[in-house]
């Protein structure tokens, strides 16, 4: 490699490495601010030693506890519990839930903290995982019987 090319190679590589390192450090410093949501345990036990204040606007993401979904018969109001690995957080919401919402499903709710472990949500989004399979296979492998929302027996 002739000296001029070598010089250019070094210059270009340096620029890329330096900028890469700068952006890497920036992302590292921003760290968990890039996270989309708090998990229920982070709300109850705190994240990096800081607990969210009551009244703070936040997002929470977790799994809907089976059997915890309670719908109001006369309105769209619904309450359900969210869990990840530890404590439970209760979410109240008034509005239309996404199709994928069901017990055991991962969801992300936006709202504000009304008590230490209670959230008044304005928006509920459903999360799905990266696994795709036909219903028969899901039933055989995971024991999941797919139920259409209208056939589900929520009380």
């Amino acid at each position: 490699m002739n000296p001029r090319r070598k010089q250019r190679l070094i210059a270009v590589s340096t620029v890329v490495v330096v900028i890469g390192a700068a952006i890497g450090l920036m992302l590292y410093a921003l760290g968990q601010n890039i996270d989309l949501f708090y998990t229920p345990s982070e709300i109850v036990q705190g994240k990096d030693g800081v607990k969210p204040r009551v009244g703070q606007r936040l997002r929470v993401g977790g799994l809907v506890v089976p059997g915890s979904v309670k719908r109001d018969e006369n309105s769209l109001a619904v309450t359900f519990d969210l869990v990840d690995t530890g404590p439970i957080v209760q979410v109240s919401y008034q509005g239309i839930l996404p199709d994928l919402f069901r017990e055991g499903q991962g969801i992300v709710a936006t709202g504000h903290l009304s008590a230490a472990n209670q959230i008044l949500a304005e928006e509920v989004l459903a999360k799905h995982d990266e696994e795709y399979m036909p219903p028969e296979l899901a039933e055989a492998m995971k024991g999941i019987k797919h139920v259409k929302p209208q056939d589900a027996n929520y009380n």
Binding site: R8, G24, L36, P98, E123, Y132, M133
Partner: protein, 249 residues
């Protein structure tokens, strides 16, 4: 290998290579994409959770993978163009950028169309979606920089540096779903280990991916040819190609 590659630094040779490859890419893309899409959209089984809505995966995942693949190819060309100052590599950067930008746009658009029925929202500012949007802006930046210089040599240099700096974004897009918690789910096929998708859904997906890859290749080759002709309009080989008459160009 250098001996074999070196002739293609000459645009004339590279142009010939493009002409030879182009029909093969075009045929291969049709052969993969048509059966892949029909199989995926009509015959693959519906998903256990998402039903038929999941079928947009056959457009979304290939275009998302290729938006990043095209960017890597563009960055490699930019690197070669900057260090070895090979003109055909510079032209390749200019040729690939719009194709990659379109792939990124398709990925974002189909993603939004998939997000609305499944997640319940068109858009959310999570790490995966945001970093993919930044990829679109990087492509647009590369195109704009290249176009904004009267002297194409200067333009290529500026666009090349921008393309190389943007490479930082590729691992961020890929690992965003692991490093941070996001609404977007994790990787299904672009990971080590077994893909987490049933085989009769996976095969059409791979066919669509290969087909779209050939489409990106074919479009890039075609654009590269045009770029070569445009930038070397007054060189003897272009004149010869156009019939030996300089008035005809």
């Amino acid at each position: 290998m250098w001996k074999w590659l070196h002739p293609y630094a000459k645009t004339e040779q590279a142009y010939r290579l493009c002409s030879t490859l182009l029909p093969w890419f075009a045929v291969a893309s049709l052969l993969c994409l048509i059966p892949g899409l029909i199989w995926g959209l009509a015959y693959a089984p519906a998903d256990y959770q998402q039903g038929d809505s999941f079928r947009i995966i056959y457009l979304h995942v290939p275009s998302a993978i290729l938006s990043m693949g095209a960017y890597s190819a563009m960055a490699v060309a930019a690197f070669i163009g900057l260090v070895w100052q090979i003109r055909s590599a510079d032209m390749a950067v200019a040729a690939i950028a719009p194709v990659g930008a379109v792939m990124t746009f398709i990925a974002l658009f189909t993603g939004a169309a998939w997000g609305k029925p499944m997640w319940g929202t068109w858009w959310v500012w999570d790490a995966r979606l945001t970093s993919e949007l930044i990829l679109l802006f990087l492509y647009l930046g590369v195109i704009a920089l290249y176009q904004s210089f009267e002297d194409k040599q200067q333009g290529s240099k500026a666009a090349g540096i921008m393309a190389l700096v943007g490479v930082v974004n590729l691992p961020i897009i890929h690992y965003s779903v692991e490093w941070w918690n996001t609404l977007h789910q994790g990787a299904t096929i672009t990971k080590f280990g077994k893909p987490s998708i049933a085989p009769d859904m996976l095969w059409p997906l791979l066919l669509c991916l290969a087909g779209l890859a050939f489409v990106v290749g074919a479009l890039s080759l075609y654009r590269l040819q045009t770029e070569m002709l445009r930038r070397e309009l007054h060189r003897p080989w272009v004149q010869k190609l156009a019939g030996g008459n300089s008035d005809a160009v």
